[in-house]
């Protein structure tokens, strides 16, 4: 079966259990089992190839430019781990089906489990380290969901968070390490990286990469000092603990160390870091495990200890060490999964996992007793069980390992660790199953159904078979070892045997077992001593660190983001000016290539007006009406400047926009206070002036030098000028650029404009439907109202002007392609004509006569422009390709028909709609309760007999 399918199956299958809850628990469990089984069989179909020493690969280029490809690879190592993940997965699924109670959402559980399984399979089959990272993060995420599966338990949530934090941080470090590694090797494909041992180890970035990658591995595999998350993750349901902490999650770090062993190992850095961390973890985990009362906690720390053991073996950097590590991974997976499941059975049946409340279960749960005892004895290192074999290989390896120039250090600590390990195994058996039967169990314990004891039994059979007949496992272990070693070293030709003769390892084994028994004899005083010894509690420290980090982040965030806009503006401005200053002082300025142009008196006059208006605006800005007039002058002078500097289109646009902006601001000022009070201190104003002057000076210097130099490369404008008429059919190059060359930009821009108008409309609606509504309706204006709000003169004048302005707009629109003008400008002009009607006759009168809502006009505009663009698809051209032709209808001269004009129509409509919708929204706020709306065009009309209705000035007089 293709590797893609093996990896994809759990992910695809993950959908099923979640939606099958209604079908019953067996169906959910069954479908999960089937999916896993399919993947498992798919994996087995590749077994012949793997046994033949081939590497099965599958490859799809995903993002080749980033070096990220979906490349999968299956060699003996990957096969081994995938086999464990899927094989033990099958057992766990069976067990989990019977373990979970009716109150648990089983579909959700198995969905998470399959996601996790898929991610794990992905890790072990990835050939691309970036892809591996993706799966790596997925395991962190899905294990978070699994550990926190019992959402109602606070310890479950805390444990899940802790696991995610620790493994997530490690993952982050690992991303950095992997990127460095990929950079050194020049490829992110593992198969390439593994060939580059010398280059990678010689690189100066080797050490940082190693440390970062090891951080990822150590956090995932719970190595000291990151071991603390694993026991807290035990709050998860037991199937999760058994799965995550025996065969999968925590083995991911080990897997990666093994996978990268050929390139990373063998250096002093690797040796010291990995061996030391592994050794400390092994001893520490074993000691803590001995004194844990919770069965699962005891097993959790024993897992920590055994992971340390494997890590240490990988750290030694010898081929024999690797072989021992591989063998122990296999053995640990078998006996530890069986032990977890046994602990789960005890918990399930006796309703407690507190070892102090247990004991004497031997006769009550004989099957569980046998299974758990065999598994525990294997872990303790008793002969004829598989744990003994790998443990002895480990001890043998330690006798050859010299750390810190002390020959006895590693063997002594390893023996001590094994001794403690044997002790907690004996305690597990002794305090749970042996001893007198009690009568105060929380529930009456008995053996569970086959569904729960079957899976651990299968594993225990393996424990015994491998333990008695190691030659059965040996070929596989050697094959896997060969896959780990790659070309870096030869597979050792030693055989895995029960009897090696009287070698030091055997004595160490005997010391460990006998010592373990001795410890059990003096357990009570030891426990008392342990209880009174002060020791750091990892969870407390972890939470203190998290809290401190959160506090720091909070303080920093609130300091930066304190709700003061002026502070943000100041930070941004100072940063921009500072960056500009840095560029100015460190960069170089080219020679001026353009001469200054002459300045006439007209230009100077315009400049003087602009300067005067701007300065006056700053000085008089507290008077808001006055400042509107002044900013109008500024805008006007800018428009005039555009005319003078050969930009008629810009001038027309700026001018018309200026008109609608001022109307808009006037409408807003209707509600706002019309003076700005003096609030800031003189010091603050001086500071702000300083920043302002610096920014202004910077802008001046940059603009000035910019204008005195030519473009570095030939601007694209040459092309536009040359092709405007030939290709676009228009002589106004600016307009042709807008509707043709860069039509797509314009299309986006009218959409943005439309969205802005709709946003204003939506905000108005919110205000009018919220608590503000009452205030608006009962508002007493702070200015006297006009006595004649809709004067006859103005009404008549705007009516007369309306067709004229519309005609002007139409004319500007039509000529736009060849002369200054176009959709934008005519849209603004027409808007002004319509706004004048509102101003003259009032909101109600005008909106009563409104035929099309402005939203629709915006939509129509965008639609027309879009459809024009789509039209070019029908002639097999890209979006917005324009075309034009010249036609002649007899009474007229020849004229041009261009699709660009249709596009410009869309622009026109969108602009009219957007401007009108914005202004209309503002006016809607102005309606008040005390003003009766007139339905007439003007308040006083000599041709009408009835008295004016709702004279708004009346009550103010």
């Amino acid at each position: 079966m293709s590797l893609f399918i093996i990896v994809a199956l759990p992910f695809l299958g993950a959908v099923l259990p979640g939606i099958m809850n209604a079908a019953g628990r067996s169906a959910v469990g069954g479908v999960t089992f089937t999916v896993t089984l399919a993947a498992f069989i798919g994996l087995l179909t590749n077994l012949p190839a793997v046994l033949a020493g081939e590497v099965v690969t599958a490859r799809v280029d995903w993002m080749p430019t980033l070096g990220l490809n979906f490349t999968l690879m299956l060699d003996a190592l990957g096969f081994f781990f995938a086999f464990l993940i899927l094989g033990i997965g099958l057992l766990i699924i069976t067990y989990g089906r019977y373990y979970l109670s009716r109150n648990d959402n089983m579909g959700q559980f198995f969905t998470y489990l399959l996601l996790f399984q898929g991610a794990m399979v992905g890790i072990v089959l990835s050939d691309n380290i970036l892809l591996l990272l993706v799966f790596w993060e997925l395991t962190s995420l899905s294990s978070f969901l699994l550990i926190g599966y019992w959402k109602h338990l606070p310890e479950g949530r805390q444990g899940a968070r802790m696991a995610l934090t620790v493994t997530g941080m490690g993952g982050l470090a690992m991303i950095g390490g992997m990127l460095i590694l990929g950079q050194i090797a020049g490829s992110y494909d593992l198969s390439v990286i593994l060939q580059n041992r010398e280059a990678i180890q010689a690189d100066p970035l080797y050490t940082p990469a190693l440390i970062l990658i090891l951080l990822g591995c150590f956090t995932k595999s719970a190595q000291f000092p990151f071991h603390f998350w694993l026991p807290h993750a035990m709050a998860a349901p037991t199937p999760v603990s058994a799965y995550l902490h025996s065969a999968t999650m925590v083995k991911a770090g080990i897997f990666l160390m093994a996978r990268l062993w050929p390139v990373l190992s063998g250096t002093p850095e690797w040796f010291v870091i990995v061996t030391t961390a592994g050794l400390i973890t092994m001893v520490l985990g074993a000691v803590i495990a001995l004194f844990k009362h919770d069965l699962k906690a005891l097993l959790a720390f024993s897992t920590v200890s055994h992971l340390g053991l494997i890590t240490m073996l990988l750290g030694t950097g010898t081929a024999f060490g690797v072989m021992a590590a591989v063998f122990h991974i296999l053995n640990h997976a078998t006996f530890k999964a069986a032990l977890f499941m046994s602990a789960g059975i005890v918990d399930h049946e006796a309703k407690t996992r507190d070892i102090r409340l247990l004991g004497g279960l031997r006769t009550l749960m004989p099957i569980t007793f046998i299974i758990a005892s065999i598994a525990a004895l294997s872990m303790a290192g008793i002969p004829f069980l598989n744990g003994f074999l790998s443990k002895e290989m480990m001890l043998e390896e330690t006798t050859k390992t010299v750390l810190f120039n002390t020959w006895w250090l590693v063997p002594a600590l390893a023996t001590f660790g094994s001794l403690m390990s044997a002790a907690y195994c004996f305690r597990f058996i002794g305090h749970t199953f042996l001893g007198p039967v009690r009568d105060d169990y929380p529930a009456k314990p008995h053996d569970p159904g086959f569904g729960m004891w079957g899976p651990p039994a299968v594993l225990v059979v393996l424990v015994v078979v491998i333990g008695c007949a190691p030659f059965l496992a040996e070929p596989f272990v050697k094959l896997i070892t060969g896959a780990v070693l790659g070309v870096a070293a030869e597979v050792p030709d030693k055989h895995i045997k029960i009897w090696h003769g009287w070698i030091p390892a055997l004595y160490m084994s005997i010391v460990a077992v006998v010592g373990g028994l001795a410890v059990m004899l003096i357990y009570k005083p030891l426990q008392k001593l342990w209880d009174v010894t002060p020791r750091p509690e990892a969870k407390v420290i972890f939470e203190a660190i998290i809290e401190a980090a959160a506090k720091t982040a909070e303080a920093f965030t609130f300091w930066l983001h304190n709700g003061a806009f002026s502070r943000y503006a100041m930070i941004a401005l100072v940063t921009i000016v500072g960056a500009g200053y840095h560029a100015w002082t460190t960069g170089t300025v080219g020679v001026a290539t353009r001469a200054l142009q002459e300045t006439g008196p007209v230009a100077i006059a315009g400049w003087a007006m602009l300067v005067a208006a701007t300065c006056a605006l700053v000085l008089l800005h507290r008077n808001r009406f006055l400042s509107l007039i002044l900013i109008g002058i500024v805008g006007l002078m800018v428009s005039v400047g555009f005319v003078y500097l050969s930009a008629p289109d810009l001038a027309m646009t700026q001018f018309t926009v200026e008109v609608v902006t001022i109307i808009l601001l006037l409408l807003a000022l209707n509600f706002l206070p019309n003076r700005t009070p003096v609030e800031s201190s003189p010091l603050r104003r001086i500071r702000d002036s300083g920043v302002a002057i610096a920014a202004g000076l910077a802008a001046f210097v940059m603009a000035y030098h910019y204008m005195l130099r030519d473009a570095v490369t030939t601007p694209i404008s040459e092309f536009h000028l040359a092709n405007s008429y030939k290709g676009g059919g228009g002589t106004n190059v600016v307009n042709v650029i807008l509707v043709d060359f860069r039509g797509f930009d314009t299309y986006g821009e009218i959409i943005v404009l439309g969205i802005a108008a709709l946003l204003i409309y939506a905000l108005t609606e919110t205000l009018l439907n919220g608590p503000v509504r009452a205030r608006l309706l009962n508002r007493v204006p702070d200015q006297p109202r006009a006595g004649d709000m809709h004067p006859m003169m103005m009404v008549v004048l705007t009516r007369v002007m309306m067709p004229v302005v519309l005609l002007v707009g139409f004319y500007i629109f039509l000529r736009g392609h060849n002369e200054p003008g176009g959709g934008f400008i005519s849209g603004l002009v027409v808007s002004i004509a319509v706004v004048m009607q509102y101003m003259a006759s009032g909101f109600n009168w005008a909106s009563d006569r409104l035929r099309y809502p402005y939203h629709g006009v915006i939509g129509a505009g965008v639609l027309v422009a879009g459809l024009t663009g789509v039209g070019s698809w029908f002639v097999a051209k890209p979006f917005l390709t324009s075309d034009f032709t010249y036609v002649r209808i007899p009474p007229f001269n020849e004229f041009e028909l261009a699709t660009a004009a249709l596009f410009d129509l869309g622009v026109f409509l969108a602009v009219v709609g957007a401007v009108m919708l914005s202004l209309e929204s503002f006016s809607r706020l102005a309606r008040r309760q005390d003003t009766q709306e007139s339905k007439f065009a003007m308040d006083i009309n000599p041709s009408r007999d009835d008295p004016p209705v709702g004279d708004p000035g009346a009550e103010l007089k």
Partner: protein, 116 residues
């Protein structure tokens, strides 16, 4: 000529920055408008200055100013209207909701002061 335009840009920037740093919404909006002018003119000058050579093709004329910055600035001017309108609406909504037109968050006492 270049000096005039550059100094105008500088002045508009300085005035805009000063007003943006004020404490009430209205001057801040005016400041943003001034900055908009400055930015638009600056973008426009990236085509360099040329008097009396509009980019409208004529048979007899050979020299034209750069049309591209003009096209880009044209849409920028229209978009800046949309932006100003949205900002004004937000400022107005905030004022109507809290009867306070400070741009910075106010303490409770200061907020009531602002109402007077």
């Amino acid at each position: 000529m270049e000096f005039l335009v550059a100094s105008a840009i500088g002045l508009l920037t300085a005035a805009g920055v000063y007003l943006v740093l004020r404490l009430r919404t209205f001057p801040v909006i005016l400041g943003i408008s001034l900055l908009t002018y400055a930015v638009n003119v600056f973008l426009f000058t990236s085509g360099r200055l040329r008097v009396g050579a509009p980019p409208v093709l004529r048979d007899t004329v050979q020299v034209y100013t750069d049309p591209l910055p003009q096209a880009l600035v044209l849409t920028a001017i229209v978009i800046s209207f949309g932006m100003t309108a949205v900002v004004v609406m937000i400022g107005l909504g905030a004022f109507l909701g809290s009867n306070d037109d400070h741009v910075d968050d106010q303490d409770e006492e200061n907020a009531t002061e602002g109402q007077s």
